[in-house]
Symmetry: C2
Subunit: 386 residues, 2 copies
């Protein structure tokens, strides 16, 4: 009998997850959203059953997932935590990419109690970035440094921002304001977002600029690496403009009174940026992810580099952001439905990567979907003692 997957949320990423799982004849997929227009994009796809349900109602959510062998969460971040909690309480295995602001590990005890496996933050970054760090962390005797660089960018660079947002500008501005947590000398350090710009070259792309954002998330708790940082990549110059906007107060959430009305500057700014940051039909974009891990193996200094590249799939129109976020979730989801991984608890990808078979399976599956992944392991010579 076919396994049953329920996809919660059919935005760009959720739809990609539903389509991907449904390519497997062993699966039937319920694709759920409150918005009929979104569901329409999934009409006529074999083995996909679009269903219009208001998932903000917990009883309807419970009903929707009652027959699920696996639940795949792709709702907007503000619904992520509560939805995942309901899914775990209902005893359903799940994989989630909703990028919730809450600390998802707080659901670990509940998942163990309910004997449920929940794979979380399993997109591209958070997601594959954690997966790569976790793999090296498992392989190395001692891990000294991990650095994550990630960005989704339009191919065409248009003045002045050279950027299109794969999600709401308001959420992008949140990335540009939330203090960035990093690890230095084994200690948590907080730096302003957009700080410490660094230029880096990417083959086929050119020079990009990375800057601190708050992207380490679960890695801050799950691994012990004395130096860790996560940087977002943009075309050079973008970050400087964003620093200027922030300095001017345009990202502020403190209301300003204008003619008697209280105005939140960030709301006006994101409203104005919306048309400028929205990709047009036919525009192509790409995603780059580079993870560099340094440490010691068999007494030698080693450097592991993971380079991922993906671009808009012109055949399906799927963006690289939807592909690289949705595919890992779909692959993990299939593993869960088949009970290939069934440990109880909340698992971010770095913990799954400890199993080399799981790691190789996911990398293979992504490459099969034309996501380019290059892994380089370099030996740098004798290591100095720690």
């Amino acid at each position: 009998m076919a396994a049953h997957a329920v996809v919660l949320g059919c935005g760009m990423v959720g739809a990609t997850i539903a389509r991907d799982v449904a390519t497997d004849p062993d699966f039937s997929v319920s694709a759920i959203d409150v918005d009929a227009a979104r569901l329409k994009t999934l009409d006529g796809i074999p083995r996909v059953q679009p269903q219009r349900v208001d998932l903000s109602d917990p009883s309807r959510l419970r009903e929707a997932i009652s027959r699920a062998d696996v639940v795949l969460g792709a709702l907007p971040s503000r619904f992520g935590f509560q939805t995942l909690k309901t899914v775990i309480e209902a005893g359903r295995p799940c994989a989630d990419i909703s990028f919730m602001p809450e600390d998802v590990m707080k659901l670990d005890a509940l998942a163990r109690e309910k004997n449920v496996t929940a794979i979380v933050d399993c997109g591209v970054s958070p997601g594959l970035s954690n997966f790569f760090v976790g793999r090296s962390y498992a392989e190395l005797e001692r891990t000294d440094r991990a650095a994550i660089y990630v960005g989704g960018l339009p191919r065409e660079r248009r003045w002045p921002f050279e950027y299109k947002a794969p999600f709401s500008p308001y959420d992008v501005l949140e990335e540009y304001t939330r203090p960035s947590r990093l690890v230095e000398n084994g200690r948590l350090v907080v730096r302003p977002a957009l700080s410490e710009p660094e230029l880096m070259d990417f083959p086929g792309v050119g020079t990009l600029e990375g800057f601190n954002t708050d992207g380490l998330r679960t890695l801050l708790a799950t691994v012990s690496i004395p130096f860790m940082k996560e940087k977002t990549l943009r075309y050079p110059g973008h970050a400087e403009l964003m620093r200027v906007f922030r300095e001017t107060g345009l990202f502020s959430e403190t209301p300003v009174e204008i003619r008697g009305a209280k105005v939140i500057p960030r709301e006006l700014t994101s409203r104005l940026l919306f048309p400028l940051w929205t990709g047009q039909d036919g525009e192509t974009e790409f995603t780059v992810l580079r993870v560099v891990v340094e440490g010691t193996d068999a007494g030698e200094s080693v450097r592991h580099e993971y380079d991922l590249f993906d671009e808009t799939d012109l055949a399906t129109g799927q963006s690289s952001m939807a592909r690289t976020t949705g595919f890992p979730c779909a692959v993990f989801g299939r593993m869960l439905a088949r009970r290939e991984f069934a440990d109880p608890g909340v698992f971010p990808p770095e913990l799954l990567a400890r199993d080399v078979l799981v790691f190789d399976h996911v990398i293979h599956a992504l490459r099969h979907r034309s996501v380019q992944i290059r892994v380089t392991r370099q030996t740098l010579g004798n290591a100095e003692p720690a």
Copy 2:
């Protein structure tokens, strides 16, 4: 008997005019403003009588100027035109620096009818810029080009704008949005503000960037020069940020609805810029004005360059902007009170500069007040026929 001068508006520039005229023992000065705090800065100055009057009431304005030998207008631009009209109707000679948006030459017929002399736009730019162009225009057989470059800047360059506004940021943003009228091949051409950036070096200052603004004003009608442009000077990079802000819609005057309230983006932007663009006590600023006029004299190509430089007067705390705007007005005002110039009509400075005695008198008076002015007349060789 002492001549009586009435100064309308005692902001930074008006106060400078009042103090300057009052240094002359032959004058008594009434300094008028609606704001008691502004008047307080003039307390105890010999020969200055501060008076609190609401000048938006025409009958009070008429009463205030009824005994004036000369009226010196330094009100905010939005009150300029109506005030000047009332002063002319009252038959009082006047010099004005209010930078009104209206075409001031429309008052010429009225001034002639009332047999009144009105010297207008007589600050630094408009003002001395016109004066310099007008002098060369009078001297040369044929004038081919006139270019005006002007800016007021802080000595200390602070990221990100490297700018302090001598007046409200809202008015500066108006300069950055109003289409710039220039003359090319004898025809009026309109270009966007902030366009055609040009780097130029200024001794003691460094490299500045000029860009088109709408500063030719009366020169568009009073002289016939086939190429004319006016550019505002800022530290390099400022204009690019302003272009980005404008492109984003932050200077727009079209309301945007945010949570039911209609918000004019330019109002929020200027509100946010206000603290960043306000000079602090002890900060020094400077003003540069360069006017280049090219043409033919006695069969030879010639180039006239006028370079003006002024900076904050640390002794009085007067800004260079207040000094270079206020002094010409004060000097013209004294000439009017003494009837040294009494032709009826509206006169922008380019028309007054036709008289070399008037020109030399003003330059002498400015140098006497430590404003640096250098005039260079270069012969470039045989001129080609027109």
